[in-house]
């Protein structure tokens, strides 16, 4: 074990892992985080706390994660390289470890153009692969990027994202290989709506033997409505929402469309369970956390396993 992470233990003992996520509030109320956490608590192994996702200012992922921890939930600290240079990043990694975080997800982050502060200057001193390497070096070599030694190392389980639906497609698996070489231990993928393309990517992952070096958690997002599906198709960077999926939701009565969205998410999970090398799912129920217990129940993922 490289950490005290509950998620790492679940994956290492060979169980199919379930993670979800919680977007911090746009204000100071800790109650909203606790509420989301409570909704997810019994259905998942760990909960990601997002870091100013889509470049919209929110409570920091570090503080929101502490609130989740106080409620007995294991957070995965998302950290983007958009807003901090290597000094601030390493400082926050130390702080996270001191506060008892066990998991970190290394991301580059959405460009500020998509957020509420388009006039901001981004940082990008490091990219997501540098961040993976930074955490690994701090943990395993006990050294800062600058070379000095740490007094006490952060024992963090290292995660990152992968988007099998972005271009250039052939390079996607090479990029995953670079992340693995840098030290990533688990991957949460972009939302999977195009199973065919995901399966092709997984084949490439297996061809390179990467599925034996990293735990892949497939991203699942339930669609609430046709409007949401269209929005994700057109407005969210890096999404691949096939027309057939939108047609399927459109094909049922309006009041039954959310139910259909849940059904599709459950079917996706069942398909993912059958793919060699997929070791879990990451359910992103955007502002619809109350459906995570329903989805996990229907997909046969409950109760969550104990760890030794």
């Amino acid at each position: 074990m490289t950490s005290d992470s509950h998620l790492e233990k679940i994956l290492e003992q060979g169980d199919f892992a379930v993670t979800s996520e919680c977007g911090p509030p746009r204000g100071v109320d800790p109650e909203s985080i606790r509420k989301k956490g409570e909704l997810l608590k019994e259905s998942v192994d760990a909960v990601n706390v997002t870091d100013n996702q889509t470049s919209v200012v929110r409570m920091s992922s570090l503080s929101s994660g502490v609130i989740l921890k106080q409620a007995g939930i294991e957070p995965v600290l998302q950290m983007v390289t958009r807003d901090r240079n290597r000094i601030a990043i390493q400082s926050d990694i130390l702080g996270a470890a001191a506060l008892g975080f066990n998991n970190i997800l290394c991301l580059s982050g959405d460009h500020q153009k998509f957020g509420d502060h388009a006039t901001a200057k981004n940082v990008y001193d490091l990219d997501s692969i540098h961040l993976i390497q930074t955490v690994k070096q701090m943990r395993d070599e006990g050294k800062f990027l600058g070379g000095d030694e740490l007094k006490g190392v952060p024992r963090l389980f290292i995660g990152a994202a992968a988007n099998p639906f972005a271009d250039p497609f052939d390079f996607r698996v090479l990029r995953l290989a670079k992340k693995v070489a840098a030290g990533v231990q688990f991957i949460q993928t972009q939302c999977i709506f195009n199973m065919e393309r995901f399966s092709t990517w997984m084949q490439q992952v297996r061809d390179r033997g990467l599925h034996e070096k990293v735990h892949i958690l497939g991203g699942v997002t339930p669609m609430k409505s046709v409007g949401m599906a269209n929005y994700m198709k057109k407005m969210v960077p890096g999404m691949d929402v096939p027309d057939e999926l939108i047609a399927r939701i459109k094909g049922v009565d309006k009041e039954k469309r959310a139910e259909e969205g849940i059904k599709i998410a459950v079917e996706t999970i069942q398909q993912l369970k059958e793919i060699e090398g997929v070791h879990g799912v990451h359910i992103m129920a955007i502002e619809w956390e109350e459906m995570v217990p329903v989805i996990t129940e229907q997909a046969g993922l409950l109760p969550r396993p104990e760890v030794n």
Partner: protein
């Protein structure tokens, strides 16, 4: 070249409003090539200002002059008499030119008529593109001569982010994904293996992040 874009007439009018005798000083190199601050632009802007101020009932005497380069003493001295005989200078050079003039003429206000935008090229008629940020440590050989620092919206060094789609950047469909260009070119050159290796975080000391830079050429010091 250094690419610049002329400020709006309204902004220029506001900047030069306090002065009665104004020299509009053009620069005959980069900004001439990008149609922002050469002789022709000096003439057009001068006419527009004269007309604009006349309409406002304000008197202003505008002198026009364009020198080869506002960043070199040899040429700057050609403008000395004109600069000293006016209340102020509106320079149509890049930011370096404006400051070079200001440093050498301490009692004359020197103001910018352009917004200096980037180091770039004329990609096609009417389109200039940024190609270089002058980071002081060129790695183009590694990236198939496409700069990820200047041309990737996130300055990523280890491959494309998850927002690359059909060759476009997630930030703007009109912007090419630099990483798609890097991969395509390295593939064509048979050098795709270049991208397998982990690229270390950049040492920014050679860039502007390390503070204002100086280049000392011992071999040129007399």
């Amino acid at each position: 070249m250094i690419v610049g874009n002329q400020k709006s007439l309204a902004e220029i009018k506001e900047i030069v409003a306090p002065y009665k005798n104004l020299l509009i000083l053009g620069c005959g190199t980069c900004v001439k090539t990008c149609f922002a601050g050469g002789e022709d632009e000096v003439a057009t802007l001068s006419s527009a200002l004269r007309l604009g101020f006349k309409k406002d009932g304000k008197e202003i005497l505008i002198q026009e002059l364009t020198i080869e380069r506002q960043c070199e003493d040899e040429f700057i001295q050609e403008a000395a008499e004109n600069i000293n005989s006016n209340d102020a200078v509106l320079s149509l050079a890049c930011g370096a030119g404006v400051q070079a003039i200001a440093k050498r003429f301490k009692s004359v206000p020197v103001m910018p008529g352009l917004n200096t935008t980037f180091i770039g090229i004329l990609e096609k008629q009417g389109l200039f593109t940024e190609e270089c940020v002058g980071c002081g440590d060129c790695r183009l050989a590694q990236f198939g001569s496409v700069c990820p620092i200047a041309r990737c919206s996130k300055k990523l060094l280890n491959g494309p982010c998850g927002g690359s789609k059909n060759g476009s950047c997630e930030v703007d469909a009109e912007t090419d994904c630099a990483w798609q260009l890097i991969i395509d070119r390295l593939k064509a050159l048979g050098q795709l293996n270049n991208l397998k290796a982990y690229v270390q975080p950049k040492d920014w000391r050679s860039s502007n992040a390390g503070g204002p830079r100086k280049l000392v050429r011992e071999d040129h010091i007399i």
